[in-house]
C-alpha cells in the first residue's frame, strides 16, 4: 500500500498526514483532518456537495487525490465563519431559508464564495447557471438563488473577501508561517491516524 506524506493548509491551519496515493482529497479532509463539513453526495463529480476552494478556486474534492493537494491552500465550509460570526453568505443562506436538510449546503456556500468574488453583481440567470454544478434535493433552489443575491448585496455594502490564492501560495513556499499550535495539531492528527490504522 503506497503511503505518502501529505502537508497542506486548510482554513489557514497546516495539516500533515500519511495517506494512500489513491485516497481522494475529500476523504483526506473528512477522515485525516476531521473536517466533516465537506460532504460526499456522488463521488463522480456531479452533485457538488464536496466543493471546496483549492488555491482560491472552487473544485470538486472527490475528483482530486490527496497527494495532488500537497502544499496547496484549501478552504472548506469550516473556514467561513469568523468565530461565532457567520460569514455574510452563511447569514444570507440562514435569513433566506436556503437550506433544509443542509447536506448540500457546504458545497453551495463554497461555490457561491468563489462565484461572487468573480461576479459581484450577478443577475438571477447568472446565479442560476453558476449554481447548476451543485445539486439540492430539498429547496427547489429558489431560496438559494435569493440568498446568493442577498449575499451579493452584503458583499457590496461590507466588501468581504477571501484571501487571493497567490498570496497563500507564497506563504506555503515560505513554509514557516505556521505557529506552534497548528504544528501540534498536525502531529496530533498523525498520531491519531496511526493508532486507527494499527
Amino acid at each position: 500500500m503506497a503511503l505518502r506524506e501529505i502537508t497542506l493548509r486548510i482554513n489557514d491551519r497546516e495539516y500533515r498526514g500519511r495517506a494512500e496515493t489513491r485516497k481522494t482529497l475529500a476523504d483526506f479532509i473528512r477522515e485525516d483532518c476531521a473536517l466533516t463539513g465537506t460532504h460526499l453526495g456522488c463521488e463522480h463529480g456531479v452533485c457538488g456537495a464536496c466543493t471546496i476552494l483549492m488555491n482560491g478556486e472552487a473544485v470538486r474534492s472527490c475528483l482530486l487525490f490527496a497527494v495532488q493537494a500537497e502544499g496547496a491552500d484549501l478552504r472548506t465550509v469550516e473556514g467561513l465563519a469568523d468565530g461565532e460570526h457567520l460569514h455574510p453568505i452563511q447569514q444570507a443562506f440562514w435569513e433566506s431559508h436556503a437550506l433544509q436538510c443542509g447536506f448540500c449546503t457546504p458545497g453551495f456556500l463554497m461555490t457561491t464564495l468563489a462565484f461572487l468574488r468573480e461576479n459581484p453583481h450577478p443577475t438571477d440567470r447568472e446565479i442560476r447557471e453558476a449554481l447548476a454544478g451543485n445539486l439540492c434535493r430539498c429547496t427547489g433552489y429558489q431560496n438559494i438563488v435569493t440568498a446568493v443575491a442577498a449575499a451579493a448585496e452584503a458583499n457590496l455594502s461590507q466588501g468581504w473577501k477571501v484571501p487571493e490564492a497567490k498570496e497563500v501560495r507564497r506563504e506555503i513556499r515560505a513554509g514557516d508561517s505556521r505557529d506552534r499550535r497548528t504544528q501540534r495539531a498536525g502531529i496530533a492528527k498523525t498520531k491519531k491516524r496511526r493508532t486507527q490504522r494499527r
Partner: protein
Amino acid sequence: MKPAPFEYFAPRSVGEAVHLLAEHGTEAKVLAGGQSLVPLMNMRLARPSVIVDINRIPGLDYITPGPMLRIGALCRQRTAEKSAEVGARCPLLRDALRLVGHTQIRNRGTVGGSIAHADPAAELTAVLAALGGEVMVQGPKGARAIAASDFFVTYLTTSLASDELLTEVRFPAPPPGAGWSWMEIARRHGDFALVGVGAVLALRDGVIAEARIALTGVGPTPVRAQDAERLLVGQAPSEGLWEEAGAAVRASLEPDGDIHASPEYRTHVAAVLTCRALREALTRVREAS
C-alpha cells in the same frame, strides 16, 4: 465508490513524463485535470496501475496567440474560457468552453485533456475538428504533430501512442470577419450535449468562401460535416441553403442511440442545429462587416 490502488508519479518535466509512460506502457494513465479520469477510477471502471500526474510540470499552462492559437497541455478550460486571446481569435472555442461541465469542472479540467480523452460528446473535440486543428505530442523519439482528422480514432481512443504525451493543442484562427456559432442540446445545463454543432462561415463578395461544420454526439468520434461544407462553399447564404446543409448533415450521419436520445432524434436535431448554427454564424459575419 473508491478507486483501486495505483502507483503515483509526479514528474517535473515532459521528458520525465514521457520516460515514465514508456516505462509503464499501457498500464499508465496520464492525469491532468482528472475530471473525466477520476470519476472512472472512483467507479473502478478504469484501474490504471500507474498514474503519471503532469500537474507539477512547469510551463505547460500557456496560451500563445498567432495564426495558430497554441494552448499548453496544462491550460485549464476556465483559463482558456476567460482568456482575451481565445475570445478574440477563437470565439467558437470560448463559446464551446462555456458549456463544458460547470465552473468547478473547468477550474481543473484542461483543454488538452478533454481532447486526449476523446469523448465524442465533448465540445472541444468538435471545435478542434471544425477548425482543422492539430495536437503536438512528445514521445521517446521526439515530437510530432497530429492533425485532428487523424487524431480521433473511436470512443475514448486516439492515435496517441502509449508512450506519447499530448503537450499542446493548436486551433487555427478563422479568417478575419468570419462568423461562428456553437449550438447544442443538453438535457441539463452543463451535461454532455445530446448533439452539438460548431460552425464557422467566411464570406467573400457575398458568397460563402469558407464553411466549417463539426458535430458531437453523433458517432464514435467528432464528425466533420464535409458534404454540407462542400455544398455551402461558393453559394450565396440563404435560408434555403441552410436547409440543404441541414439535409446533407442528416444524410451523412449514422449515430448510435442511448437512453437519452435515439439515432433518429440525434440525426434530426443535428440537422436542426446545423441550420441554426449557420444562421447565427451569418448574423455574426454581418455584424463583423
